[in-house]
């Protein structure tokens, strides 16, 4: 059944109204393709959202319609038809606990090496598995609950903790921030929510696995993580997607908030389908990730290993508002075959004695194009701010490209900003040396590449580091020799 596309008045929209303007079948597990205010109401109603959220979504949508897709990133792709995308789809059954999870889905996780139950026991990791747009399993909630930690799907947070959601949602990435963030804000269907109360040190790594499941379904995940005063949390986000032919849009938004003396470590391993050797298929990963160090002495560290996606457009950033706050960005980005990556970070120094470190390792192979784009801005009040940036690029073969675009804006004379950059080709002599010692070319390449990425890998939690190295090897297989 097709929805009737209707123009909505821009005035106040209340829950009352969507009784009328809405014609889509609410029983459907899937919205029809296309985007309009009805679809947004459909999503909001499906999710039984409070009025503030629907109003916010509509505000975002209306703003989005006036925005244009950015063209400044160094990436190229066919024009996306936003009316072709299905903005809501749910798995067939709605499981309430792990036991109810579709065995097919569990099997899929197993294949990907993510045995939920095992992880529960072995690794002590709480997993909030997101298949497609609806959360299918949340573990360890009880244990975390004892400490007052809230770790749940975003939809659940909307139901259980609407005050926290309302207080923080959109405060780090405003609805009008950029085209993809605005789109996400209008149509996000689920994601993760995490709140660490005052003084609590989260005793385990929190982890979320994202999957893209149904064909033709855009993914619009929303993550909101709040570390209250004096708390600490390490959060892992990893994902992988199966082979498919059609490009898939993924536009996630992640917002982190660190209050006084709080610390957030956010680690990502991203391995979505990059498309085939000719660039056919593959995920478009247009993500907005930003953290606000709101409190004094707060700290946010982003660590990312980006091996997947056809196109990556992503700048995990830190706004260092609190005095003495610290922002870090450690990144490995791979662009192989026809992959295009335009990634980097923004460090905005607002408070006094704020410090930021940027370590970026870009690997280009095949015809891959890898761009580091970073901004360091020192605001006038940021006395004694410090930044250190290091961008290294590794080229494999001569058809790929590496580009480094650093923007530095300094408005306070007492600050110090340091930038180092290097570009090197993977050394023939290094490979030969390894082979002379008995290693195959492939092992030699993986050894050299892993060495190149060492500074970033050692920032990852142990089991994640191992996974990341494997991923890197797989994604660079056959690039040399």
């Amino acid at each position: 059944m097709k929805p009737k596309v209707q123009e909505q008045p821009v005035e106040k929209v209340t829950q009352e109204e969507y009784k009328y303007g809405f014609v889509t079948d609410f029983e459907a597990d899937e919205a029809p393709p296309g985007l309009n205010e009805d679809i947004i109401r459909f999503i909001s109603k499906k999710k039984k959202e409070p009025p503030f959220l629907l109003e916010w979504r509509l505000k975002c949508f209306r703003h989005w319609t006036k925005m244009v897709e950015p063209t400044w990133p160094n990436v190229h792709y066919p024009k996306i038809n936003y009316q072709d995308i299905i903005y809501y789809s749910a798995p067939k059954q709605g499981p309430k606990s792990l036991n109810e999870v579709d065995p097919e889905i569990l099997k899929m996780f197993d294949k990907l090496g993510v045995p939920l139950q095992e992880r529960e026991v072995l690794a002590g990791v709480a997993v909030d598995a997101v298949v497609d747009s609806v959360s299918v399993g949340t573990t360890f909630k009880a244990k975390l609950g004892e400490l007052g930690i809230i770790f749940c799907s975003f939809s659940e947070a909307v139901q259980e903790h609407p005050d926290l959601v309302e207080k923080y949602l959109g405060t780090v990435v405003p609805y009008n921030d950029n085209f993809f963030a605005a789109l996400n804000s209008a149509v996000f269907t689920d994601g993760s929510f995490c709140y660490i109360p005052k003084g609590v040190r989260c005793p385990m790594e929190l982890s979320t696995y994202f999957r893209i499941n149904a064909a033709k379904t855009g993914q619009f995940e929303r993550t909101l993580l709040i570390a209250d005063a004096g708390s600490y949390v390490s959060y892992l986000e990893g994902c992988t997607a199966p082979m498919r032919d059609e490009n898939q849009l993924h536009a996630a938004v992640v917002e982190l908030i660190a209050l006084d003396n709080a610390e957030i470590k956010y680690s990502t391993v991203q391995n979505w389908y990059p498309g085939d050797k000719d660039g056919k298929g593959g995920v478009y990963n247009f993500v907005t990730k930003r953290g606000a160090c709101r409190g004094v002495n707060s700290k946010i560290s982003w660590t990312q290993v980006e091996t997947g996606s056809a196109i990556t457009w992503k700048y995990p950033s830190c706004i260092l508002q609190g005095d003495n706050s610290v922002g870090e960005f450690y990144s490995v980005a791979v662009a192989n075959n026809m992959q295009q990556a335009d990634t980097g970070t923004k460090m905005i120094h607002v408070g006094k004695n704020t410090k930021s470190t940027i370590i970026s390792k870009g690997i280009s192979a095949g015809k891959g194009q890898n761009t580091y784009r970073g901004m360091v801005r020192i605001q006038p009040a940021a006395e004694n701010a410090r930044n250190y940036t290091q961008c290294d690029s590794l080229l494999m073969g001569d058809k790929c490209g590496a580009h480094t675009i650093p923007y530095i804006e300094v408005k306070n004379n007492s600050s110090k900003v340091g930038h180092e950059a290097s570009t090197s080709k993977i050394g023939e002599d290094q490979i030969y040396y390894c082979r002379q010692r008995g290693l195959s070319t492939e092992d030699a390449v993986s050894l050299i590449v892993n060495g190149f990425c060492k500074e970033v890998f050692r920032k990852l939690p142990m089991e994640f580091a191992v996974e990341a190295q494997k991923l890197l090897n797989v994604s660079l297989e056959g690039s040399v020799g």
Binding site: Q430, C434, Q436, G438, L439, D443, I448
Partner: protein, 254 residues
């Protein structure tokens, strides 16, 4: 063990090896000396399988098999080790990890059991001791920031761990202080046995005081132009190469 017959090699149209003949038997130590640029390192790399050389003639048999047909890693697995004149740095790669990966890939290729981290550490520490090398070297990245002498000692450590059948040492003695020179010599002498052979490329007969060779060859103009015993090295030290290469040139003119 190694038979080189009439080996000719070019780099970018430049003839560098022009008919090298050399036979090394198991248990022997051979030294190769010769002027700068005469092709000693080229010979070593051609034997190890480096790309970029065009073999224009001759053959090389290692234990009766065509060596030149093998990839560098398969030569290493067959038992050929080259201590580089200029060891290569591999930033970020732990020295122990590198050596373990190398040893295990060799063991695996021979159908032998690979060593786990604990066993390997034990092995490498045992090898380190007689070489009087500092354990801290194990934790550093392969050759990264190593001094010239440390790099050479690291090559000897690798040789000691990999236990090759034929070890080629390309100027491993160059740039070493007296103590380090002894370490290198000890490394070779410890491994010396009736099944193993060595080819030492050197400019200094000093090394040969510590490692007494069975034969000394002079490589000049891309060929072995003279072969003798240890006394040849002393003679070269005293007289230089002119008297041999000079002869060569005269002969060539005839």
């Amino acid at each position: 063990m190694l038979v080189i017959k009439g080996l000719k090699a070019k780099v970018e149209d430049k003839v560098i090896l022009n008919g090298v003949d050399l036979t090394i038997n198991a248990g022997e130590v051979h030294a190769i000396m010769g002027p700068n640029g005469s092709g000693k390192s080229t010979l070593a790399h051609v034997l190890a399988g480096r790309e970029g050389y065009e073999i224009t003639g001759g053959e090389v048999l290692f234990e009766g098999k065509d060596l030149l047909a093998l990839s560098p890693e398969n030569r290493a697995r067959a038992g050929i080790f080259l201590a580089f004149q200029y060891p290569v740095e591999i930033p970020g790669v732990n020295n122990t990890y590198f050596l373990k990966a190398a040893l295990n890939s060799i063991l695996k290729s021979r159908g032998q059991e690979e060593l786990d981290a604990m066993d390997f550490l034990e092995l490498v520490k045992a090898k380190l001791k007689p070489l009087k090398m500092d354990e801290s070297m194990l934790q550093r990245a392969v050759n990264e920031g190593f001094s010239g002498g440390e790099k050479k000692k690291n090559e000897i450590l690798q040789m000691a761990v990999l236990e090759p059948k034929l070890a080629i040492l390309d100027e491993t003695d160059s740039g070493l202080d007296i103590d380090a020179l002894k370490v290198v010599a000890d490394g070779v002498n410890l491994l010396r046995n009736k099944d193993r052979a060595f080819l030492l490329v050197t400019h200094y007969q000093r090394l040969l005081d510590y490692i007494v060779p069975d034969k000394v060859h002079v490589l000049a103009g891309g060929r072995i132009v003279k072969t003798g015993g240890k006394e040849l090295a002393l003679e070269l030290e005293a007289k230089g190469y002119e008297w041999i290469t000079g002869n060569q040139k005269k002969e060539a003119k005839v």
